[in-house]
């Protein structure tokens, strides 16, 4: 059960936070055990303060590759009953279970944590005249905004988010992450400047498999929020991660921009840089900056964007947050973290380690022949 904290929870107050992030990506599709990502993020213990930690793993549910895996927090049995009724009305529920956890002294006040593998009910989907993704997205947003006490914190296919209030290594222990293998992992340790006391506020933030971990505090928040809310998104948590996820979902999935183009919108090159570019590139970037002006993100951030088959790392245009990338050629592995130590601790013999420039996206994808 959630404690009745007298402080405001996420969504009632805007809470800035600093953080640690880490990511592991196997381009060959070879699975990496959850212990590895815990080891990496734990190295940066001092960058979090025990008020939030979490992980996203891609390729962890090969037994249900085509079903949406919903991870849900419930305040109580009542909210669970209400949400399950909603799910049954809109989805074919293929499997449901408690998410396995173990008792960890540092993790307390856990909500009910359930997992559902679902596919949209055919007849409901037809009636809605929406695509499968859009239908599912709206259902998730409905639960999170309308059903009190229920919160879907993970909703992608063949992927899952695990998060809680605590240090990330304790959160990984709690969720028994050693039981999961993924080709792509992201992790987050949180350092909020207030006590949120709510599990939903931890990172990663996920919407249908687009997941984000973020370190920073964006200064463009309200400009971004008020713009993106024109398109049906509701920023309920008032967190940077939430609005960044919606922005990327809108640009990549609604507007069909490539991830490179998405990066050139949210961390746009300066006009002085654009003016020095060859004509074609200059015109394209001017077009994107002008068209999506309100989606430029300013202020410090380093983010890892997890999506099906890939990962993008991106810094704000001034690189006001640390982020390094490491590559190991023989194993086709890519490591990205706030600090180099978080890479060296799991792969001491990386071939290259470098700091991407501000606004320069690092995008890694599965090799064409990779099997996941």
């Amino acid at each position: 059960m959630m404690s009745q904290n007298i402080l405001h929870k996420e969504g009632e107050v805007r809470i800035p936070s600093g953080c640690a992030i880490s990511g592991i990506f196997s381009k060959s599709g070879k699975k990496v055990n959850g212990r590895e990502i815990i080891k990496s993020i734990a190295t940066m213990h001092d960058r979090s303060n025990g008020l939030g930690g979490g992980f996203a793993g891609y390729g962890i549910y090969p037994q249900y590759p085509d079903a949406y895996a919903f991870h849900v927090f419930y305040n109580d049995e009542d909210s669970k009953a209400r949400c399950e009724k909603f799910l049954e009305r809109h989805f074919d529920v293929i499997n449901l279970s408690k998410i396995p956890t173990r008792k960890v002294a540092a993790i307390t006040d856990e909500p009910l944590i359930w997992r559902y593998f679902v596919t949209p009910l055919h007849i409901k989907l037809m009636q809605s005249q929406l695509s499968e993704e859009e239908f599912t997205k709206r259902c998730v947003i409905h639960i999170n905004t309308q059903l009190d006490g229920a919160y879907v914190f993970s909703s992608g296919k063949n992927m899952g988010v695990f998060k809680a209030v605590g240090f990330p290594e304790d959160v990984g222990e709690f969720y028994r992450l050693e039981e999961y293998d993924a080709y792509s992992w992201t992790a987050h340790g949180r350092y909020p400047t207030n006590t949120p006391g709510w599990w939903g506020g931890a990172h990663p933030f996920d919407l249908l498999g687009l997941s984000i971990v973020h370190n920073g505090e964006i200064s463009s928040y309200d400009a971004n929020r008020r713009y993106i809310e024109m398109f049906g998104y509701k920023c309920n948590l008032l967190t940077d991660t939430e609005v960044i996820t919606y922005i990327i979902d809108y640009l990549a999935n609604e507007k069909k921009l490539t991830m490179e183009e998405v990066a050139s919108v949210i961390a746009a090159p300066f006009w002085s840089t654009i003016e020095r570019m060859p004509q074609k590139q200059r015109e394209q970037l001017t077009y994107l900056r002008n068209t999506f002006a309100s989606l430029l993100i300013t202020g410090p951030f380093s983010i890892l964007v997890g999506f099906e088959g890939g990962m993008m790392a991106l810094n704000d245009r001034l690189k006001l947050r640390s982020m390094v990338v490491g590559e190991k050629d023989d194993t086709d592995m890519v490591y990205i973290a706030s600090e180099e130590c978080a890479i060296r601790v799991i792969e001491p013999r990386v071939d290259r380690v470098w700091s991407p420039k501000g606004g320069e996206p690092v995008i890694v994808r599965l090799n064409p022949d990779a099997k996941v």
Binding site: R14, P16, S17, G18, T193, G216, E217, I218, S219, S220, Y221, D222, A223, N224, R226, Y227, E229, M230, F231, K255, K256, L257, E261, A268, F270, W271, S272, K280, E283, Q284, Y287, L288, N290, T291, F292, A293, S294, L296, I297, T298, G299, P300, R317, L318, L320
Partner: protein, 503 residues
């Protein structure tokens, strides 16, 4: 005329001359078009206080600093309800039987919301950015945003953008017609806009042929009188503005007396010399929103869809709904003029009582357009009155794309806000057509002062943005979390869409 030899009006100002300093050089006498100063038979300089409008021309030019103007302490019996101004205006009307005329913006003591908004800055959790060391961007595009991303066969994005205005900084000079202001004032504005990479606006007076060269930085206006409108005029500018209303006088037209319709002004306006230029209150081809759409598209047809069309409205009670209609009319930009906006002449009662504050109008328009999902259909430009870089920053944080400045631009050119433009005797060479007065405004100096002003404001905007940790103006636009209110009630906060300081 009903005064029966009695002078009911005591002069509002007194000219104070330090006779020890006065050298009787008669500069004041030559400089005052109101004929306040004269030399008496004994060679001593005197003043007729009743003619003084307090424009400071004589004070500024007196070589020995012998002059100052003070407000008369002559008083009526104090009365909180019947103020001296109300009594005096009443006497004036009882004498003349006429409508009171005023100029410049509403001077009354109504709330200035800009002064009740406070700005944010970064501390600890994110860094402020130093504009001296890092790029700080103020480039602004005005115009519609495309709805769809279209790609060619090779997957490249096709440029499907409608015409845009590119501004180096989100400030433009608002509409002031040639006629209401002088040739030299127009020359100053046009040159400054070109040097700054922004725009000035012709107002409803046509475009003097000498100024076609500044076309890329000129917004040409089409108002209800259609003065000076022809094909070459429409094509000369970078955008066409349809003027529906003006903040200083919503709901009424304009009147430039025949005495000012001389020479080039007559030619530029395309009306006979000496005839009054009367702009009707409404456009007689726009009696409803669907008519506006037709005029918008007529102008787009005439300019072959190469120019964005601006629709300028006054901030009135129903401004959000009106703006929503305009945003669906095909217009590319909406300009909203607040109740403090200036004018060359307006009926006093209208100027001081009609319309609403721009801060509230802007906030409700921006919110409404977002609620309806049509904010991308138009850019929003606000004016009336923007007094400083801080006002610009606050306007943009509330949701404006750019600001129009008129009064501030006049001040930069030397205006002292004596609010007597309607007299046509502007001693500073701005709101006059008398050649000996016009030549007092040197366009080289006028344009330089305008450039200085806008550059100074842009530096300040950058400094303020840097403090907030924002390094590009688009991240400030509509970013209302950067604002907090003081001295506002719950309803005002709600309309402005901001929190109270300390929240």
């Amino acid at each position: 005329m009903g005064n029966n030899g009695i002078n009911y009006i005591h002069p509002e100002f007194e000219v104070v001359r330090d006779q020890d300093k006065c050298i009787a050089c008669r500069v004041c006498e030559r400089q005052c078009a109101n004929e306040v100063h004269y030399m008496d038979e004994d060679g001593v300089m005197r003043a007729d206080n009743s003619k003084c409008v307090n424009c400071h021309r004589c004070v500024s030019l007196c070589p020995t600093g012998a002059l100052k103007i003070v407000k008369s302490d002559h008083t009526f019996r104090p009365n909180g309800n019947w103020t001296p101004q109300i009594i005096t205006e009443l006497y004036r009307q009882a004498g003349s039987g006429g409508v009171l005329l005023s100029s410049m913006g509403n001077p009354t003591n109504l709330p200035v919301y800009w002064d009740r908004l406070l700005l944010n800055a970064s501390q600890v959790t994110n860094p402020s950015i130093d504009p001296l060391r890092e790029p700080m961007e103020t480039v602004t595009f005005l115009g519609k945003k495309p709805k769809e991303i279209v790609r060619d066969e090779e997957g490249n994005i096709v440029n499907n953008q409608t015409p845009q205005i590119r501004l180096n900084t989100p400030i433009m000079f608002s509409a002031m017609s040639y006629g209401s202001i002088s040739y030299n004032a127009h020359a100053s504005l046009a040159r400054a806009a070109t040097e700054l990479g922004i725009c000035y606006n012709t107002g409803e007076g046509g475009l003097h042929e000498d100024f076609y060269q500044y076309g890329p930085n000129t917004i040409v206006q089409v108002a209800s009188g259609r003065f000076g409108v022809h094909k070459a005029y429409l094509e000369a500018g970078c955008a066409v503005e349809i003027k529906i209303g003006q903040g200083a006088k919503p709901g009424i037209g304009g009147h430039l007396p025949g005495a000012k319709i001389v020479g080039d002004i007559s030619r530029t306006r395309m009306i006979p010399e000496g005839s009054d230029a009367i702009s009707p209150a409404p456009h007689h081809d726009i009696y409803s929103i669907e008519d506006l759409r037709q005029l918008v598209y007529s102008l787009k047809e005439a300019t072959e869809y190469n120019k964005p069309v601006i629709v300028k409205i006054a901030a009135v009670h129903n401004v959000a709904a009106i703006a929503s209609g305009v945003a669906r009319s095909g217009a590319d930009i909406i300009a909203i003029d607040g109740f403090r906006g200036g004018t060359g002449a307006a009926p006093t009662r209208i100027r001081d009582n009609v319309g609403i504050p721009i801060e509230l109008a802007l906030a409700s328009v921006d919110s409404r357009l977002r609620e309806e999902g049509i904010r991308d259909n138009v850019s929003v430009v606000v004016g009336g009155s923007i007094r400083s870089a801080a006002d610009v920053v606050k306007a943009i944080a509330l949701g404006a794309d750019a600001c129009y400045i008129g009064t501030a631009a006049c001040l930069a050119m030397g205006c002292h806000l004596c609010r007597s433009c309607q007299e046509g005797k502007c001693n500073w060479g701005i709101a006059t057509q008398r050649p000996e007065l016009v030549k007092r405004l040197n366009p080289n100096i006028g344009s330089q002062r305008l450039v200085n002003l806008v550059n100074a404001w842009t530096h300040e905007i950058k400094e303020i943005m840097g403090g907030m940790g924002i390094n590009s103006i688009e991240s400030l636009r509509g970013n209302r979390l950067m604002l907090r209110g003081v001295g506002l009630n719950q309803k005002e906060l709600e309309i402005l869409g901001i929190k109270y300081a300390g929240e």
